[in-house]
């Protein structure tokens, strides 16, 4: 078993962790402190460029963009975490049962997953948000549902492979309950591809939240969201470009960070890589 230390030269790991921990710190800090009140308006100060007082400038209401970016980190992490939890819990459960039990259960579960997958993800999310109303929790649930099928497939293939192994046979023979076999014995052995999938869906969820908020269906004002800031800033693209840079670069960096991290995890956990 390799240790993290031996991966000291893994660029993906270092840069990914660096970016994500920076955002994580920013998020934690934003619970207690932001340089300015995120909603305080000062229209006389609107659309100011970056300065020592307003690091990233101000928006059209004279609100501090940096403070709103900080607070937006909370939104991004919240949506990502909730989405991934829903996706992983239900995806593993469905995929695990389908793979382990097999037969018609497998058929039924996986065909349902297929029908989910046949839907373009963002359209599914749009539909759910249209029915249940916009907002951060509904958005996350919609995105979580979107994440289930791909995780279920990965879980299923792992479970199918492992249920034939001797340790599972042995457990069966001594009368361990199927549920316990699945989640105490098999799951830890198939977890690495799931972790990789989860970190990718984290990035996908953040991107999708930004997209939905950009369309006005995600996080509702006045709560800050990077996607919404991007949308609002678009009108001022030529006159105040820094307003667009802040949320745009934040989204890019955060997604990049997660992709790099998931690449690194895959490299570390994949037994075939050196």
């Amino acid at each position: 078993m390799k240790t993290l230390m031996s991966h000291g030269k893994n660029i993906n790991l270092i840069v990914g962790l660096l970016i994500l921990s920076a955002f994580l710190l920013l998020m934690l800090l934003s619970f207690f402190y932001t340089p300015h009140d995120i909603n305080a308006m000062n229209v006389a100060n609107k659309l100011r460029g970056p300065s020592s007082e307003y690091w990233f400038g101000t928006d059209e209401f004279g609100r501090d963009i940096f403070s709103r970016i900080m607070k937006g980190t909370q939104t991004a992490f919240f949506v990502g975490a909730l989405t991934v939890s829903i996706g992983v819990v239900f995806g593993t459960l469905i995929g695990g049962i389908a793979g382990y039990v097999g037969g018609w259960v497998d058929e039924v579960f996986m065909r349902i997953m297929d029908s989910f997958m046949a839907f373009p993800g963002i359209i599914l999310a749009l539909m759910l948000v249209a029915v249940f109303g916009p907002g951060i929790v509904n958005t996350s649930i919609a995105l979580g549902l979107m994440a289930i099928p791909s995780i279920a497939r990965i879980a299923r293939s792992g479970f199918i492979q492992h249920k034939e192994f001797e340790y599972v046979m042995a457990a069966k023979l001594i009368g361990v309950k199927p549920f316990k076999i699945m989640f105490r014995h098999i799951l830890p052995n198939v977890s690495s591809p799931l972790i990789v999938a989860a970190s990718i869906s984290f990035a996908v969820a953040m991107l999708a939240e930004a997209a939905l908020s950009y369309l006005g269906l995600g996080v509702q004002p006045p709560d800050p969201s990077w996607g919404r800031m991007l949308k609002d800033s678009q009108a001022y693209l030529t006159s105040s470009p820094w307003y667009t840079y802040a949320p745009g670069i934040s989204i890019t960096l955060m997604v990049l960070g997660f992709y790099m991290l998931s690449n690194a995890i895959r490299d570390i956990m994949d037994p075939r890589s050196n």
Partner: protein
């Protein structure tokens, strides 16, 4: 074989590219004929071309170029004769006798006959089929055509505002011979005639050669190009693909130097309003407190980049004589006063409420954000709820299921039609649930008043009442900004949405 297919694909693709570039160079080479043709960008398609069926203001913006009524609305909110050359009103205020102008021709070349006018009103009132297309003529007792030049309308009750329902906005005169085709091939008497409508792309109109006012129009062709995205529209303007377009205030800087900019009061009324049937908005002190707390200047600066005129009642300065000046300063921002009023009303610590806004225009959620901040200062906690336009109409406008909302009330040519939203018995439009006996009485009396100066006094008093009673928070009439090629002239500003092309010309 597979290799061959690839080559075929490549050749086809190159052919397509060539075709496209050939087309675009053809399109760009129109400088020579530009003097007679204008392309105007419009945000959206019309809902109907039939002037009696259209409801969207965006439709009238275009189709009013094709149609005329007995009267024509003027830029200052008054009326001028159109198909009717003159009229007489009987002593009792009930019988209007119109003298029809000779030699008004439809686009198909036929002269307008009194039968066509009768046909138009029969169609609107549903006299023949029992299915009225408009409720504006419920007060009409009868219509008659005593001779070929005269048309008579008798009312059930006197109504000094009646002539306003005789413009192309509400009763465009259309030929009886075109029955069944009014929407597919509309025919009217306006300065431009219908050529072609391509849904999603454009609406083409051409000069009406036999227009009764021989001087007009100047242009040979008008094309309304549908383009909902502002960014693309500005790019099209710069590429000379359109000659005239509306510009959002925050992008004015991009075109200010190279194009001719016109600012136009929209005659609309942006209100932040409350459901006055619900607590705590029943109490006038609460409404006044909110009025004192809201910073109109901030909304104008943040949302309209300063291009809006603050107002104090449901009337814009665009309405000329009817507008009551000074009301815009009554509720100058005063947090202390607002808190006092709230305390008097029994809410010393404020309360929680919800503002429901439509998502079809970002303006509304932006305004709501300013409201949240402003009202927080007097202890009122406001939650923002963004709903779709359809839901807004259904639940808030018609269903009256809301606490607070904000909306831009579209202007109309007549002061009466602007103010009648607040009449307590006007169930279909009074979504504020405003109720004031004096207001109701003025609005009933003004219909019986024939003297224009007295009407003006009454309308001004009505505006004062709305202000005193804080029927809504009246924010502003925002300006519409137009950018055009420098050499365009003759663009007129109306107190409602109308791109009048009749006097537009290129000056080179």
């Amino acid at each position: 074989m597979r290799e061959n297919k690839k080559w075929l694909m490549l050749v086809l693709m190159m052919f397509c590219v060539l075709m496209i570039s050939a087309c675009s160079s053809e399109g760009g080479n129109v400088d020579g004929e530009k003097a007679q043709e204008i392309k105007v960008r419009i945000n959206d398609d019309p809902d109907f071309l039939d002037p009696h069926l259209a409801t969207a203001s965006i439709s009238y913006q275009m189709i009013l170029n094709m149609f005329e009524g007995l009267f024509a609305p003027e830029t200052d909110g008054s009326l001028s004769p159109a198909i009717a050359e003159s009229y007489e009103l009987s002593e009792d205020g009930l019988t209007y006798t119109f003298n029809i102008r000779d030699n008004v021709k439809f686009h198909n070349g036929n002269t307008v006959k009194v039968e066509d006018i009768t046909y138009t009103f029969d169609r609107l009132m549903g006299t023949k089929n029992g299915d009225p297309l408009s409720s504006n003529f419920n007060n009409v007792a009868s219509i008659e055509a005593p001779d070929t030049d005269t048309f008579v309308i008798k009312l059930k009750e006197p109504n000094s505002n009646f002539l306003y329902s005789l413009t192309a906005l509400q009763s465009a005169i259309i030929p009886a011979s075109n029955e069944g085709k009014h929407n597919d091939n509309p025919i009217g008497t306006g300065p431009f005639k219908f050529v072609k409508y391509s849904p999603g792309a454009n609406l083409e109109l051409a000069k009406h050669e036999d227009y009764w006012d021989e001087k007009l129009p100047y242009l040979d062709k008008v094309t309304f190009v549908f383009q909902s995205d502002d960014q693309s529209a500005l790019m099209a303007l710069k590429a000379k693909e359109v000659d005239l377009t509306g510009v959002p205030a925050n992008r004015l800087a991009e075109v200010e130097n190279d194009f001719n900019i016109r600012k136009q009061n929209n005659n609309s009324t942006l209100v932040v309003t409350f459901n006055q049937e619900r607590e705590p908005f029943k109490d006038v002190r609460v409404r006044q407190a909110i009025n004192y707390a809201i910073n109109k200047g901030d909304i104008i600066d943040a949302v309209f980049s300063g291009y809006a005129t603050p107002i104090g009642s449901n009337m814009s300065p665009a309405m000329g004589d009817y507008y009551k000046d000074g009301l815009q300063d009554v509720y100058a921002r005063n947090i202390e006063k607002a808190k006092e009023l709230l305390a008097e009303a029994g809410y010393p610590d404020g309360f929680s409420t919800k503002i429901s806004v439509s998502s079809h225009n970002d303006m509304y959620s932006n305004i709501a954000q300013v409201i949240v901040e402003n009202l927080r200062e007097i202890g009122i906690k406001v939650e923002i709820e963004v709903v779709e336009w359809g839901i807004w109409l259904e639940r808030i406008y018609f269903g009256r299921d809301y606490d607070m909302t904000t909306i831009d009330l579209t202007g109309r040519p007549s002061a009466y039609e602007i103010l009648n939203d607040y009449i307590s018995t006007n169930d279909s439009e009074n979504f504020f649930r405003f109720k004031n006996a004096e207001f109701d009485k003025i609005m009933a009396d003004v219909l019986k008043e024939a003297d224009r100066d007295k009407q003006i006094q009454m309308y001004q008093r009505a505006q004062e009442i709305l202000n005193e009673d804080s029927a809504s928070v009246y924010i502003a009439d925002y300006q519409v900004l137009w950018a055009s090629d420098k050499e365009i002239e003759g663009l007129k500003s109306y107190p409602f949405w109308f791109h009048d092309m009749s006097e537009v010309r290129f000056t080179e």
